[in-house]
Symmetry: C2
C-alpha cells in the first residue's frame, strides 16, 4: 500500500496547489502572493475525513490548531459532523521522562500494534513546545519506521499555548482521526506533571515508561503520575541492565501496592522491556489488550469515556470563567495590588477576594 | 491555672447572660424570648481575643461559622483587625483513616507539646459533618485529657457545607486563635482525599497517621495523600504488633523513596509509635520540631505561608466564579440538557461549553 500522503493529490479530489498568476501582473507582487491551499467546505472536509483521506485530515487538524476565529468556526462544524463516526478506537497515553526512550518505544510499539491490524494515529501534548525548536514528535524522523508506514498518521503537538488550549486541540484531533478510521490512538506527552493529567483525561489506558536505574533515577517521576498509570514499563532491560531493570520493576510493584485499587478494578502491571532491541514488546501489548478486554467487559470503558466527555465540558467552562475574570482590565490592575496587601498581612485572602469579585460583578 | 471557660464570666467583661423580662409582660410571650447572648462590638471582640479571652474567642468563631450576612460582616472586620496579631504559630495538619486512632493520638500529642510550653488550639475540617451526628472533634470527651487542659482550645469542624466553605472558616479560625496567643495549631481531618488537600494548604507540617497491618490495610490511603505527608507515623506499635508496625514503616520508606524530593528540601520521615501506651511520642515531636528548624532556616516556612495566602485568595475567587455560573437559573436548566447532548454523542464537550458560556455572558 502506498503512503496516502503521496497519492492523494492525484485522486481528483478538490486539492488546489495554488492560483496560477497571469504573466501580466507585477512580478514583485506575484512574489508576495504565495500559492494558497484551497479552503474546503465543511461537507468536503467531512467527506474526505470519513473516506480516510490523510491530506484532508491533516488540513482539518491545521484548522483546529489555527488561532483565526473563521478557521475555528469551520473546525467546530467539521468536528461536530465527524462525531457520529468517532469513538471506535483504543486511546493510549504514553508518558515518560526525557531520555526514557519514548520515541524509540513508540516506533516499535506502533509497528507492533499495526501488525495486529488497523490504523494508528500518534498525537502529542506538549504545552511548552514551539514548532521551530523541535517539539515532541516535531521531528518525524525520530520514529523512523512508523513515519513511513502507510497506516500510521503522526502529528506533532499543537504549538505552544496554554495547557488547556493545547489539550483541547489534541482531543478534537482524536475525534477527526477516529472518524478517518484510525482505531488506535497514541497520545505522547513529556513527564512534566500537568500535561499527564490532561492526557490521562482523554485516554483509556495510561502507559508510563520508566528507566531502569538506581533509586535516585527513579525519583524522576513527578508527584501523582505513578498513580495514574495503568501500566508501568521499564525500558532498556537489555545486556548488563537486565537485573537493574528487574529490581526497578519490583520497587515499582511494591510502591503500587501501597495505592488503593483504581476505579476500573484493574491492577496496574509492571513489565520490563527493551525498545531498542525489541524485547518484551509483545508482552506489553498483551497486557494493554488484556486491560481493554477487562474494562469493556465490566462496563468501565464506556463509563470512563462518558466521564471524560463531561469532564472536558466542565473544564472548558471553568477555564473560560477564569480567563474572563483574570483578563478583565479592571481586575488585572487591582489583582496585583490586592495580592501585595495579602502578602504584607494587611488583609485576609478572603477579604481581598471579595473586593476583587465585587469589582468584577459591579456590586 | 483554672480552665478559662470556667472563669471568664466573672471577669467583669461585657458578657450578658440574657435580658431580664419585666414581670408584667405576657408570660407566653416571654417563653418565646430566649435569653440572648449580647453581641459584642468589633472592638470588644478584638480586645477580648488579643487578651486571650476564650469565651469571646469562641463567640467570634461562632460568628465566622454563622450563615447570617450581618454576622459575616462583623466576623470579617474582627479577622481583619486580628491579622496583625496572627501568624506566630506552628500549624500542623493531622490526618488518618477512621480507626487509625486519631483522637487518642491527638490527646497524647497535645499534652506532649503543651509540656514543652505554649498554648494549643485543635481545629478540624470535615465537610461531611453535621453537628448533631457527632462530627470529628464534635465530642470533646474523645480527647479526655486535652479537653480539660487550661491551655488547650478544642473546636469541632464547622457544620456541613461545601469543602471550600468549611475550609475557609477553619482558616479564619486559625487567625483568631493565633491572635489569642495559641502558638500551636492542630488541624484534624479524616482521610477522604479532598479535605486533606484543603488542610495541607493551610498548615506548615502534614502528619499522616497510619495503621500497622497487612498490605491490604495499607491500601486505605487515598491517592495523592501520601505525597503530601511531611511525616508518616504508624500507630499501635505495641505488644505483638511492633514487628508488623516496623514492617509497615519500611514499606512506607521504600514507597516515599520513589517520590521526588519535596519543594521544602525536607525528606519525610516514617516513625512508629503507640498513642494508647504513649510510646514513641517524643520522637515524633522531635521530628516535627526538627522540620520547623529546617524550614525556618532555609526560608521555606515564610515562602510557603505566603504561597498559601495567595492560594486562598485565588481559590476563593475561582470558587465564587463557578458558584455564580452553576447557580445561575438560566444555566441550571441548560446544563442538564447540554450534558445529555454530550453524553449522547450529539455534540462535543467544547461546543456544549461554548453554548453555555454564550448564554451566561449574553453573547
Amino acid at each position: 500500500m502506498e503512503h496516502p500522503e503521496n497519492n492523494e493529490i492525484y485522486k481528483g479530489l478538490t486539492v488546489n496547489k495554488g492560483i496560477a498568476q497571469p504573466s501580466t501582473v507585477n512580478p514583485y507582487l506575484s512574489l508576495r502572493k504565495k500559492p494558497r491551499r484551497r479552503q474546503y467546505s465543511v461537507g468536503e472536509y467531512v467527506e474526505g475525513i470519513v473516506k480516510g483521506d490523510i491530506t484532508i485530515l491533516s488540513q482539518a487538524v491545521t484548522l483546529i490548531e489555527s488561532l483565526k476565529p473563521e478557521h475555528q468556526v469551520i473546525a467546530q462544524e467539521v468536528i461536530e459532523k465527524c462525531l457520529p463516526y468517532s469513538g471506535n478506537s483504543v486511546r493510549i497515553g504514553i508518558s515518560g521522562v526525557p531520555g526514557a526512550g519514548k520515541s524509540t518505544s513508540i516506533d516499535v510499539f506502533g509497528l507492533h500494534v499495526l501488525e495486529r491490524g488497523g490504523k494508528l494515529a500518534v498525537l502529542a501534548i506538549d504545552p511548552s513546545s514551539e514548532r521551530s525548536k523541535g517539539s515532541i514528535l516535531g521531528d518525524k524522523t525520530r520514529m523512523e519506521k512508523l513515519s513511513v508506514h502507510p497506516d500510521a498518521f503522526i502529528r506533532p503537538s499543537p504549538a505552544a499555548g496554554s495547557l488547556g488550549g493545547v489539550a483541547r486541540k489534541t482531543r478534537e484531533t482524536i475525534i477527526l482521526c477516529e472518524a478517518a478510521g484510525f482505531d488506535k490512538i497514541f497520545v505522547e506527552t513529556v513527564g512534566v506533571g500537568q500535561s499527564e493529567t490532561a492526557v490521562h483525561s482523554m485516554v483509556d489506558f495510561f502507559l508510563l515508561i520508566q528507566l531502569a536505574g538506581t533509586g535516585d533515577e527513579l525519583q524522576g517521576i513527578k508527584r501523582g503520575i505513578m498513580e495514574m498509570a495503568d501500566g508501568i514499563i521499564i525500558n532498556k532491560a537489555d545486556g548488563n541492565n537486565i537485573e537493574k531493570a528487574k529490581l526497578a520493576a519490583s520497587h515499582f510493584r511494591n510502591a503500587l501496592h501501597l495505592f488503593p485499587a483504581s476505579e476500573s478494578g484493574w491492577i496496574p502491571e509492571v513489565l520490563t522491556y527493551s525498545g531498542f532491541y525489541n524485547i518484551g514488546v509483545k508482552e506489553i501489548w498483551d497486557m494493554v489488550y488484556r486491560y481493554f478486554d477487562f474494562v469493556k467487559a465490566n462496563g468501565y470503558f464506556t463509563h470512563r469515556r462518558n466521564e471524560q466527555a463531561k469532564y472536558w465540558m466542565y473544564e472548558t467552562i471553568n477555564e473560560h470563567l477564569k480567563d474572563s475574570f483574570y483578563h478583565n482590565p479592571e481586575i488585572e490592575g487591582l489583582l496585583v495590588k490586592e495580592e501585595q496587601q495579602v502578602l504584607g498581612g494587611h488583609t485576609t485572602s478572603f477579604a481581598a477576594a471579595k473586593k476583587l469579585l465585587d469589582t468584577y460583578f459591579h456590586r
